[in-house]
Amino acid sequence: MSDRAPTVYIRLRKRVKRSRSEPILLKHVAQIIVDPPWEEKLRNLELARPQKKDGNYVLIDMMQIVGKLKQIMPHATIEHFGEPHTIVELQTQARPANVMLLVLVWILLFVGSGMAIMNFHTDVSMPLVHQKLYRMITGIRDEHPLVLQIPYSLGIGAGMILFFNRLFRKKFNEEPNPLEVEMFMYEESVHQYVVTDEYEKMQKQDGQRLDESRRDRP
């Protein structure tokens, strides 16, 4: 009888953002397909309640979900696709970006990169190279070949913009620009770390529980 042993298909999402105050329900972290009578109940199955000590991330593991599911549907067959866990990023009220901070960081980057380029010029003896290059092209000796150096300076800016593709923002080009790739890679690494870290915490808790139960036994 299909009523007695329904099949639940679950696909976990990789990561979701949830507000800290609401409990995490199954529908938040997964797509589910199940026979209609069960659907509402399953979709609203509570998996976890974020607590203060949880920090920014909560890991919802497939095993956890199976445990909860089995409590309400003991005979269900669970078919699971995709990721074995979902990372829930808990958001506190999104603060509007601090303008003062923005200005400060802006100035930091402006002055810092200006100094960095001067350092770089000294490091690689750029003045000497420019003098040589200028002499090579025009045959004129000049201590300060500004004709070459001013376009060079503007070119640095152009090159950076070119690299990050801000100049021609063709959005029908699906290929991401390096900054987007970089943001993605960074987030990926952070999440990988979070998964490992949360699993370690879980293991530690389980270990403690095990120790306690052993201690209880005489």
């Binding site: 601090n98 380029i117 025009t138 960074y186 987030e187």
Partner: protein
């Protein structure tokens, strides 16, 4: 005889030095993913010709430098060369910032997600200003 020996020894040293520097240069360019990026902008997947351009450029300017070639072009042509040099250095600088993960960390830690392009412009303008200051003011002080 002794001369010939010494000369072939220095030729060997020169060759191995060149090999080391050349492979180092290629490694540097490769780490920064400059050529794939340029190919992407140019809308082509054939990077072989770009690699050839890099090698040819390195060879040409090394020889021109060592033989102290003087071409005697008109002065404004130096501006064009300067502009190309600048764009290249700018791309190097941008690629380096990218390797160092500066922007994602700034965005994530300081909650400045929506303002990344502003911060990018800060860096761009800072580089231009720093470089202009270097040539127009700082280098002139030295005497």
């Amino acid at each position: 005889m002794k001369d010939l020996l010494l000369q072939s020894l220095s030729a060997l040293i020169g060759l191995s030095g060149g090999l080391a520097v050349g492979s180092g240069f290629v490694a540097f360019i490769t780490v920064l993913d400059l050529i794939p990026r340029l190919a992407q902008i140019a809308g082509t997947r054939r990077t072989a010709s770009f690699e050839a351009a890099v090698v040819a450029g390195v060879l040409f300017f090394t020889m021109a430098d060592f033989w102290q070639a003087e071409f005697g072009f008109f002065i404004a042509s130096a501006s064009a060369v300067g502009l190309f040099c600048g764009v290249f250095v700018g791309m190097l600088a941008a690629a380096l910032t990218e390797v160092l993960n500066v922007f994602p960390i700034l965005a994530k830690r300081l909650g400045l997600h929506g303002f990344i392009h502003w911060l990018l412009m800060a860096m761009v303008l800072g580089k231009i200003a720093g470089s202009l200051f270097d040539w127009l003011v700082f280098q002139q002080w030295k005497e």
